[in-house]
């Protein structure tokens, strides 16, 4: 653990990424209770005022809603969904990928073919079609659909990680001891694949943010009036000349969050790969 901290100290990029990510998490946790406005509160006398005017830090949109408040509220849903998605798709991927890799043979072949077929459709397109058809996306719905579209990829990573350990002596030893398949997979092998798994979860976290923001932008994410960063961008896109802050700040919020996570996940993958 200490070596990780030491390496973190030596990587200014990772520190910057982690700091921004933590700031967003703190903003999501306690921000809304400190805000003077709610995300639906309309200031009818101050519609489309610029940043800093009339007590609105980042200005207001066409309905007089405070852009800053909406961004802070919006961080809650996107962080929640992205975190759940990266965890859920990784867990599902580990269960499926481990089962296929561990038993090998026909199970593995069928698994690989099915995953190849499922990966033939871009995750964003799949999620968009399903969410568009179902309509009225909720946090639970979004989490489940995005997780499903990511599972083929995570399952392949998990399978690959398992295969590198499968022929180790400690696995043979466990088998000879008469341990069950489940025990060998999850108690013996899983801890030894923790590096690639953590790398996958952090990378997935960044992908999920991108995907959820894009789905919101395409109008199949959370429904109004819930503040969603992607949705804020497309809602106000026509105002880009008249009130650029309504579009630019939500975009910058997305940018800062995904770049922060990528910087951190890049560091995680470097550390974990060096360690192996």
């Amino acid at each position: 653990m200490n070596t990780y901290l030491l390496q973190l100290k030596r990587s200014p990029r990772a520190i910057a990424g982690l700091t921004i990510l933590l700031l967003w998490i703190i903003a999501a946790l306690i921000g809304p209770s400190l805000l003077p406005y709610t995300y639906t509160g309309m200031d009818m006398n101050n519609q489309m005022v610029g940043p800093g005017e009339a007590g609105h830090l980042l200005g207001t949109d066409a309905l007089g809603r405070d852009v800053f408040s909406r961004i802070i509220y919006g961080s809650r849903s996107i962080l929640t969904i992205a975190l759940l998605t990266s965890l859920l798709s990784s867990i599902a991927g580990i269960i499926i990928g481990f089962t296929a890799g561990y038993f090998g043979g026909i199970v593995d072949t069928i698994f690989l073919r099915i995953m190849d077929i499922l990966m033939a459709i871009p995750p964003l397109v799949l999620a968009m079609v399903v969410l568009g058809i179902l309509g009225n996306s909720t946090i639970v719905g979004l989490t489940i659909i995005v997780s499903i579209t990511y599972t083929p990829a995570t399952a392949r990573v998990a399978r690959g990680a398992l295969l590198t350990c499968k022929s180790s002596e400690y696995v043979d030893a466990a088998r000879i001891r008469g341990e069950s398949h489940l025990y060998i997979m999850f108690v013996e092998i899983l801890p030894n694949t923790i590096g690639p798994v953590i790398v996958e979860i952090t990378a997935r976290f960044a992908y999920s943010i991108m995907m959820i923001a894009s789905l919101g932008f395409l109008g199949v994410g959370l429904q109004p009036p819930t503040p969603d960063w992607g949705m804020m961008v497309i809602e106000n896109k026509s105002l880009i000349r008249a009130a650029p802050w309504t579009v630019l700040y939500p975009s910058l919020a997305i940018a800062s969050l995904v770049i922060a996570i990528s910087l951190f996940s890049d560091f995680v993958s470097k550390v974990m790969i060096n360690e192996d």
């Binding site: 058809i133 940018a255 770049i259």
Partner: protein
């Protein structure tokens, strides 16, 4: 011989994938809640007229019959009739939009491929030095941005700020894409933003590993000009993984087009797919999604073949294909 065997095997699998995807897409869309005939006629329609339309559209036939009719039409090149735009054959609008998207995709390709390879090579050669750190950081940052975020930044700078490029990609009525080439620039740049990171990163890492090879050392030590070694000896081998990543991302690019086209209002396959979903136009959704899958699968197939063809170790390898 082995190459042909690999070709046949991969082609077979590609066709199988498309078949499986077509079934998946069909059932996914067909189980969609709501009665299609009711949707078409509106809530005020009488029960008899809904029943009549269902009968005319063959909606009461068993699912497998409807699938076969749909897939059969597809193979014959008949994409069916749009639900939302009553009486419009999908074929009449579809291919023009696909053409626009293909032009956009290739414009983007023209931007990002040379750019990312050049910067990737540069970063790889300067491994660990300042230019490497800067290029990698820019790549990492732009790669992480969703297409619409980079698009908004580009619009803010070039359309709102400098006012040199159009804010939206609209083709005026009566004109075609070729008379409005300036509408391609910002959408293509938004895609370049995202792809630059992937491709330059891949190019960098393959360049780094190739530069450590013995034959490069030998070439440098025998006094060949560094530029010659980099571009003639190293790049030749270091391009292979890059070609793969570019090819593999072709299908992904078409997914990304949906976002970019929606942002700019670009009249292509992506915005068509989006409007099909918004209007719940089932035959149009099916046509668009199947076509995107088709491109994705064939791009992978062609990349795979190209890789095998360009890599003599696979081309001449016996047995294991």
């Amino acid at each position: 011989m082995d190459f042909l065997k690999r070709f046949a095997k991969r082609l077979g699998f590609t066709l199988l994938t498309i078949l499986a995807m077509s079934i998946l897409i069909f059932f996914l869309v067909e189980i969609m809640p709501g009665d299609v005939a009711q949707t078409v006629l509106g809530q005020s329609a009488t029960e008899e007229s809904v029943a009549a339309l269902r009968d005319r559209m063959g909606l009461d036939d068993p699912l497998h019959q409807r699938y076969l009719r749909w897939a059969g039409g597809f193979i014959r090149g008949d994409l069916g009739e749009s639900l939302y735009m009553r009486g419009v054959q999908i074929n009449t609008i579809f291919w023009r939009k696909v053409g626009h998207s293909v032009v956009l995709a290739f414009t983007a390709l023209l931007f990002y491929v040379p750019l990312s390879i050049l910067f990737g090579v540069f970063a790889g050669v300067k491994e660990g030095k300042a230019p490497d750190a800067i290029i990698s950081f820019i790549g990492l940052a732009t790669m992480a941005l969703p297409e619409f975020v980079s698009g908004i930044i580009l619009i803010t700078v070039f359309a709102v700020g400098l006012e040199i490029l159009p804010i939206a990609s609209i083709i005026p009525i009566g004109e075609n894409l070729w008379q409005n080439l300036d509408i391609l620039v910002l959408p293509a740049l938004s895609i370049t933003f995202v792809m630059f990171g992937y491709v330059s990163r891949m190019q960098r890492s393959s360049m780094v590993s190739v530069m450590k090879a013995d034959y490069i050392r030998a070439a440098i030590l025998k006094g060949m000009p560094r530029k010659y070694v980099i571009f003639r000896h190293a790049l030749k081998n270091a391009l292979l993984p890059t070609i793969t990543i570019i090819g593999m991302n072709m299908g992904w690019l078409f997914g990304g087009l949906i976002v970019v086209e929606t942002l700019f209002g670009f009249p292509g396959l992506g915005s068509l797919t989006m409007s099909a979903i918004k209007t719940r136009d089932i035959p149009l959704i099916e046509a668009c999604v199947l076509f995107i899958t088709f491109i994705f699968v064939f791009a992978t197939f062609i990349t795979d073949m190209l890789y095998a063809f360009l890599n003599p170790r696979i081309r001449y390898k016996r047995g294991d294909v």
